[in-house]
């Protein structure tokens, strides 16, 4: 309904395994973002994209990679999940005339 969806909504994975989270938008927005939310830390930017194949690091990018091969999809990959990556992950999108942006509903990831 908000034009942005995240999948999966919940995931439990084991330490050391690769994990990919998907963000899909239907608004043709140029900018997409991945954040993680942890108690006491608020929202911290992991990576963001300002166009197809154009990405940049945020403040907590270590251990994460992203890819954007199409405008509508932004993938976040944890190459080898660690317990410190247990968190709630939010994707967001924004356009040139929509600075505030729209957030997805989040993915709760637990690494055991």
């Amino acid at each position: 309904d908000a034009g942005i969806t995240q999948s999966p909504r919940h995931k439990v994975t084991e330490t050391g395994t690769p994990v990919t989270l998907r963000c899909h938008q239907t608004e043709n927005h140029r900018y997409m973002y991945w954040y993680r939310q942890d108690p006491g830390h608020g929202l911290r930017l992991i990576h963001y994209s300002y166009g197809v194949k154009d990405t940049d690091k945020g403040e907590v990018s270590d251990g994460y990679s992203v890819s954007r091969s199409k405008t509508e999809d932004f993938l976040l990959t944890l190459e080898s999940a660690t317990s410190s990556q247990t968190s709630v992950y939010f994707c967001a999108m924004s356009g040139d005339r929509d600075t505030a942006g729209t957030f997805g509903s989040g993915t709760r990831l637990t690494v055991v």
Binding site: G42, L43, Y48, Y50, A92, T99, G101, T102, S105, G106
Partner: protein
């Protein structure tokens, strides 16, 4: 280095009272200041936003006060209701490709 400092971390207000959340910033290049509201299990959603050419913006019971010289802005919720209980984030943005910078959030509880 935290670019936007938000206080308090948590706030309890009686129904009908005024809730006040404060944010301070250092970067004078910021030119857009949104506030987000987040309910449990949901992503943050834009509540209200202001640009530095005005000192106040009001939408219903929600008001942003902006003090450019002090580099501070605040959210006031008048006649607070239990339905306003949520986590609130302030943010700031500079024009161009740079992402929003978020405060750490304030958990508001409005009690009857």
């Amino acid at each position: 280095q935290q670019q936007v400092k938000q206080s308090p971390q948590s706030l309890i207000v009686q129904k009908g009272g005024i809730s006040i959340i404060n944010c301070a910033y250092e970067n004078t290049a910021f030119d857009y200041f949104p506030w987000y509201q987040q309910f449990p299990g949901k992503g943050p959603a834009l509540l209200i936003a202001i640009r530095p050419d005005v000192s106040e913006k009001k939408e219903g019971r929600f008001t942003i006060s902006f003090n450019k010289s002090a580099k501070q802005f605040s959210l006031h919720i008048m006649d607070s209701q239990p339905g306003d209980s949520a986590t609130y984030f302030c943010a700031a943005h500079t024009s161009g490709n740079t992402p929003l910078v978020f405060g750490k959030g304030t958990r508001l509880s409005v009690i009857a």
